[in-house]
């Protein structure tokens, strides 16, 4: 069962999608791990390994095939399995979550202030003057107060993420989810976002779940890390475990999984991730370019 201090417990989660030819492709195979109260857990893995799918399952955006997802927020006596939970009941848990989407997902028809105010207006009966104070506070926290009356289309990618973060924290959530927070940002902006994530997690004492393929960022913010590969959990452990695998000589690592993690964390082009046995020349060519593209965007 779920461990006592886990906020989220994922048990044997399996998720598949229908394919064009009428079959199904399994994207997550029996994924099991816990997210502990107050920690920052980073979920890593290459493009297409199922990180976004996992996140979407956790927030109830996608139904799962098998397994369980248990939540235990502060006011809950015991963990509740959210699979198959009615929308209205799940919404009670959703109110304790904040999510920063990859694009920021701001409402384009509203100003930043209105974006941040929306969850407050929808889920509380506080007066406008108080909403205004909270909005000011939240925008200040992400250093976006100067832009409060701008529309989202007037902002840069990094600014959108900051504003999205202000909105995600509007209701003082217990759990914050981040989908690729540094994707598409320059290194300086990306570092600033990482600092913001750490800052919020210490100030608000939230539990953070961060999905990323950006290694520098992952090692900066993580307390613990999960490595996914082809929809399976390869390893979960404290950051120091991953640091020692990263810094080891690949030849000295005993298991294939560790060598694969080593390759991923270091971004080597040779290794078990890219072993091309049985591939045609064409496939090697395609995969080779795809991998090197991956690394330049990361």
């Amino acid at each position: 069962m779920a461990s006592a201090d886990a906020v989220i417990s994922i048990r044997d989660l399996r998720k598949s999608f229908p394919t064009a030819d009428g079959g199904r492709i399994t994207v997550l195979h029996s994924v099991t791990f816990d997210v502990m109260r107050g920690e920052t857990l980073v979920i890593m893995g290459g493009s297409g390994c199922g990180k976004s799918t996992l996140l979407n399952c956790l927030i109830g955006e996608l139904p799962i095939d098998e397994g369980a997802i248990l939540y235990r927020t502060n006011e809950m006596e015991e963990a509740v399995d959210v699979t198959g939970l009615r929308e209205r009941e799940f919404n009670n848990i959703r109110r304790r979550m904040g999510i920063l989407f990859q694009s920021g997902a701001l409402f384009n028809s509203m100003t930043l202030a209105e974006n941040v105010a929306l969850p407050l207006r929808e889920h509380s009966y506080v007066e406008e003057s108080i909403i205004d104070i909270v909005v000011t506070l939240k925008l200040q926290q992400v250093k976006m107060l100067a832009h409060r009356d701008k529309m989202p289309t007037q902002l840069s990618g990094g600014q959108k993420k900051r504003a999205g973060l202000a909105r995600a924290t509007a209701l003082d959530p217990e759990i914050l989810f981040y989908d690729e927070p540094s994707a598409g940002l320059d290194p300086v902006t990306s570092t600033a976002i990482d600092e913001l994530i750490m800052d919020l997690s210490s100030k608000l004492q939230v539990t953070s779940v961060v999905v990323t393929h950006e290694m520098d960022s992952a090692f900066r913010i993580a307390d613990r890390m999960v490595m996914l590969d082809k929809g399976r959990v390869l390893r979960i452990g404290p950051r120091s475990d991953f640091e020692s695998i990263r810094d080891a000589d690949p030849a000295s690592l005993s298991t294939a999984d560790d060598r694969l993690i080593n390759q991923f964390l270091n971004g080597y082009s040779d290794g078990p991730l890219t072993d091309a046995e049985g591939m045609s020349e064409f496939e090697k060519l395609i995969i080779g370019t795809a991998l090197s593209e991956d690394r330049t965007t990361a």
Partner: protein, 288 residues
């Protein structure tokens, strides 16, 4: 009359196989399209059901917020943008009707009957119908594009993540706004259509204003307005829900949004005219 069996036994099996395959493929794509059609209709009906349920909840449960500001915003958007076009088109329709009817009625020596026919045709039929067709281009297309873009930019997902029901928050205001505004627009369309018919009859056909308005007043009964405006309201609901469904089911980026927009206009026009036929049959059967 040479019949085929010979070919199947000896003749040209390849040609026959190709023919069978072609028939099979046509049947297959027809089945696909039928499935798609049923899915779209089913999805739109289900979406309408939940929109109506949320409307009722919003009206009777104080804890459910419907967002008055957003409703007003949508009404302005639906109404104000289309009002000029509706008036222009309807004036032409009134004028066209008068001119088309004139020779026939004149040959019966009943030229003053133009007023009656124009009034009935506009108020019962062409006012609501033309307004709805204009609105499917204005409101329908823009609702589909807007909601589709929101799906693409993860805004709908973000709403759900904030425990805000997108049907209540986005669809109900658009549904109510379109339904209410189209009724108002249809009233304006009725007036302008009759005026168009009147101006043409007066200036081009020499019918006096007194005769024209006397005939119009005599021809119309309250029932004509009620049936016409009821239809308009239903057409508005159809447009909004077809547009919302197309927007919510957008797939494939900007191209998908574009497809949703055009398909909304086509689907709306077909649905509106189909619904009009149903209504007309019912009204006819009951003698309304």
């Amino acid at each position: 009359m040479s019949i085929q069996p010979a070919a199947s036994e000896s003749g040209e099996p390849a040609a026959l196989r190709r023919a069978v395959e072609a028939i099979g493929a046509t049947a297959g794509s027809a089945i696909d399209r039928t499935v798609q059609f049923v899915e779209t209709v089913g999805g739109t009906v289900r979406l309408t059901g939940s929109a109506l349920a949320w409307t009722v909840r919003g009206l009777f449960l104080p804890s459910v917020k419907l967002g008055r500001a957003s409703l007003v915003e949508q009404m302005v958007r639906v109404g104000v943008r289309s009002i000029a076009i509706v008036m222009l088109v309807e004036a032409f329709i009134g004028s066209i009707l008068a001119l088309q009817l004139a020779p026939t009625l004149e040959s019966y020596g009943q030229i003053q009957m133009i007023a009656n026919v124009v009034a009935i045709a506009i108020v019962r039929e062409l006012g609501p119908l033309i307004t709805a067709i204009v609105l499917s281009g204005f409101a329908g297309a823009s609702i589909a594009a807007e909601i589709g873009a929101m799906v693409e930019s993860e805004e709908i997902k973000a709403l759900r993540a904030h425990a805000i029901n997108p049907i209540r928050f986005l669809i109900v205001p658009r549904f109510l706004a379109t339904t209410m505004m189209i009724v108002g627009l249809a009233v304006i369309a009725d007036v302008i259509g009759v005026l168009g018919g009147f101006l043409t009859s007066w200036l081009a056909l020499g019918i006096t204003p007194e005769t024209y308005f006397e005939s119009t007043r005599a021809a119309l009964v309250i029932r004509d307005f009620i049936t016409g405006l009821t239809k308009a309201g239903v057409f508005g609901g159809l447009i909004a829900m077809i547009a919302c469904h197309a927007g919510m089911t957008v797939k494939g980026g900007a191209v998908g949004v574009g497809n949703a927009t055009t398909s909304t206009v086509v689907k709306s026009i077909v649905a509106i005219i189909g619904m009009d036929a149903v209504f007309t049959a019912i009204f006819y059967a009951f003698g309304w």
